[in-house]
């Protein structure tokens, strides 16, 4: 059995971010604008001067940050025309496309990291998307909302209704999020597709990482989002 608890992951302390002050400020602006608490953690999992593909890169904030601060060769895929236009104006290389259909076009090992933030739950075929990510990139970095969080469980258990939270604000009949999972579910899928978790973090509502030595069930209950860096078991 592979190690099961978060403490088993040898990841660096998150308190010592490698980002410069200006970068941290940029991230801060991004976070306050979009409520994207996961991006700082994602950025911290990427090595300098590597090749990165951000799938669903939005207006390109993360890509720009990575390219300017880390000298990363940053590429993106984005569905919305506005997002692509914003990215192109920033000088980023971004392709209008869809995670579900267009990852298949990328050759093997084209990138060091393939990033998918807050999008996995909106894909039609999350498993295939994840497998493509690990085929295209040496590492995959995924962040997603944890459907096992106690607030969500509470809404279903006590109110008997599909949950609506600050993070997940869509009603069930009008949501892009069609494949929710819990942190435990995600870890299960990673095992199933033969990948390995290199780093994993659960963050709470304020974006603070949960303590590492807590057991899995605590992560699954109190983590609002999971951020994981994966790699293939065999290359």
């Amino acid at each position: 059995m592979p190690p099961r608890g978060p403490a088993a992951f040898r990841h660096r302390a998150l308190g010592t971010s490698k980002l410069s002050k200006s970068a941290a400020k940029q991230v801060g602006e991004m976070l306050s604008r979009d409520g994207r608490l996961d991006l700082l953690l994602v950025a911290d999992m990427v090595d300098a001067r590597s090749r990165v593909l951000d799938v669903g890169c939005g207006d390109g904030s993360l890509l720009r940050l990575l390219s300017e601060e880390r000298g990363v060769d940053a590429r993106g895929i984005e569905l919305s025309q506005k997002g692509v236009n914003d990215c192109v104006s920033k000088g980023l290389s971004v392709i209008q496309g869809d995670a579900d259909t267009d990852l298949a076009d990328y050759p093997d090992d084209a990138f060091d990291y393939v990033i998918l933030t807050q999008t996995l739950q909106a894909t039609r075929h999350p498993r295939q998307v994840l497998e493509h990510m690990l085929r295209i990139g040496r590492h995959a970095i995924v962040s997603f909302p944890n459907f096992g969080h106690w607030r969500i469980r509470f809404q279903i258990a006590v109110r008997g209704r599909m949950p609506i939270t600050d993070n997940l604000s869509f009603p069930w009949y009008d949501t892009p999020n069609i494949h929710f999972c819990t942190i435990r579910d995600f870890v299960g899928l990673v095992d199933e597709i033969g990948a390995r978790i290199e780093r994993g973090v659960a963050i709470d509502k304020s974006g603070k990482p949960l303590q590492l030595n807590l057991p899995w069930w605590v992560w699954n209950l109190f983590g609002e989002q999971g951020v994981f860096r994966l790699t293939r078991l065999k290359t």
Partner: protein, 396 residues
């Protein structure tokens, strides 16, 4: 403007263009794919803006099938504005205050660059069909000769739509180190069967016109305007989407309240196409139409690279921005995606935008705000990366 005419009643732009011209003599023949050295070669071109001291701000614009070098000036034959004034000019995305913009008439054209209506020095008559069949690569070779002639090593960007986009792709494949950025628009890396089919209809219309005289109409003092007009009409349909046609014309009648039970142009769309056809023949040469359509048909960039388009762009340092229009059924989005796929596989830096518009293939010539802003953004970013100073602030 006093436009001289030749024997066939055509404007004499082919022999005496209202343009800058570069002459290449016997020492600099054009090596054509047909296996022939073409000499002498004349390239007619226009420039806008000023080349900077580092010669780093040049943008080459490649024109489409029946376009020409008159991108941003009044057309010498039609008196109409240049075909891309919406994109090119002071403060426009292709900012002539910032960039040195070059556009040249393609080989095989009829606006001053050597083509079938140019004088063949060997015979003292127009080339007609004696001109070897021209390819997109030949057009690009001639452009490269012009760029050499202008003393420019690397182009800041090569831009073009439709057949112009094919030239952009060919530039990027043939001269990767001379192309800093490339913007192929509404184009394809090879002509599809359907593309060839439509072109063949046009060519057959021209060749079926008795005034075509087996291509010798200039000698005969005739001009196959009917055939050329039909060719243009058929082609023009492919430039517009069904949706746009429906919206613009629908089944509306032309200056009448009821159908006339005749074969007059009862419908507005008929009238419109007839006008497009008849105005086209004033500015275009029928044999040129045969040559440029053939050049597109022969275009298959991957064929030169063992059938792999990715190999054509392997290791390219050029920054690409591929643009398609979702209602373009002539060079559909899928054709652009194939280019993007190959660029990705070749490891090139590529952006891709599929612009949502109902205006069809012709959208690249029209005021489509998302397209214009994409172009501006991409060129700005390329200029920054190339170290060009920012545009001067201007009042809008």
């Amino acid at each position: 403007m006093n436009v001289p005419f030749n024997k066939a009643g055509q404007s004499d732009e082919a022999e005496a263009p209202h343009s800058l011209v570069a002459h290449f003599g016997a020492a600099q023949p054009l090596k054509m794919d047909a296996g022939v050295l073409l000499s002498p070669l004349t390239v007619a071109y226009q420039t806008y803006g000023t080349l900077n001291a580092q010669k780093s701000n040049a943008i080459l614009i490649c024109h489409a099938l029946t376009g020409d070098q008159h991108v941003a000036n009044t057309h010498p034959v039609t008196g109409k504005p240049g075909w891309w004034e919406i994109m090119v000019g002071p403060g426009r995305p292709v900012d002539t205050d910032r960039y040195f913009v070059i556009s040249s008439n393609v080989v095989g054209g009829c606006m001053g660059t050597t083509g079938p209506s140019s004088l063949n020095p060997a015979t003292g008559r127009a080339y007609g069909l004696d001109l070897p069949v021209v390819t997109i690569k030949d057009m690009v070779r001639a452009q490269a000769m012009l760029i050499d002639h202008l003393g420019i090593e690397t182009l800041c960007c090569v831009v073009g739509g439709s057949m112009g986009g094919m030239q952009v792709l060919q530039w990027a494949a043939s001269y990767p180190e001379r192309v800093f950025a490339a913007m192929p628009i509404a184009t394809a890396a090879r002509h599809s069967s359907q593309n060839i089919a439509f072109h063949e209809v046009g060519r057959q219309a021209i060749m079926a016109d008795p005034d075509w005289c087996k291509g010798r109409y200039i000698d005969e003092g005739r001009n196959p305007t009917k055939g050329l007009a039909v060719a243009r009409m058929a082609a023009h349909i492919t430039y517009m989407s069904d949706e746009a046609l429906q919206r613009k014309f629908g089944r509306k009648l032309q200056d009448r309240l009821a159908p006339t039970f005749s074969f007059d142009a009862d419908f507005q769309i008929e009238n419109y196409l007839r006008y497009q056809g008849s105005s086209f023949v004033d500015r275009f040469d029928a044999n040129s139409y045969l040559y440029v359509t053939r050049a597109c048909d022969y275009f298959d960039l991957a064929a030169d690279y063992d059938g792999s388009l990715a190999l054509a762009f392997k290791g390219s340092k050029t920054r690409f921005c591929v643009v398609s229009f979702n209602s373009d059924w002539l060079y559909p989005t899928a054709a652009s995606r194939a280019i993007v796929h190959a660029l990705n596989a070749g490891g090139a830096s590529v952006s891709f935008v599929d612009i949502e518009t109902e205006r069809g293939h012709d959208a690249f010539l029209l005021d489509v705000p998302d397209f214009i802003s994409t172009t501006r953004g991409f060129l700005d970013a390329a200029a920054r990366a190339r170290g060009l100073p920012p545009s001067r602030a201007r009042d809008i």
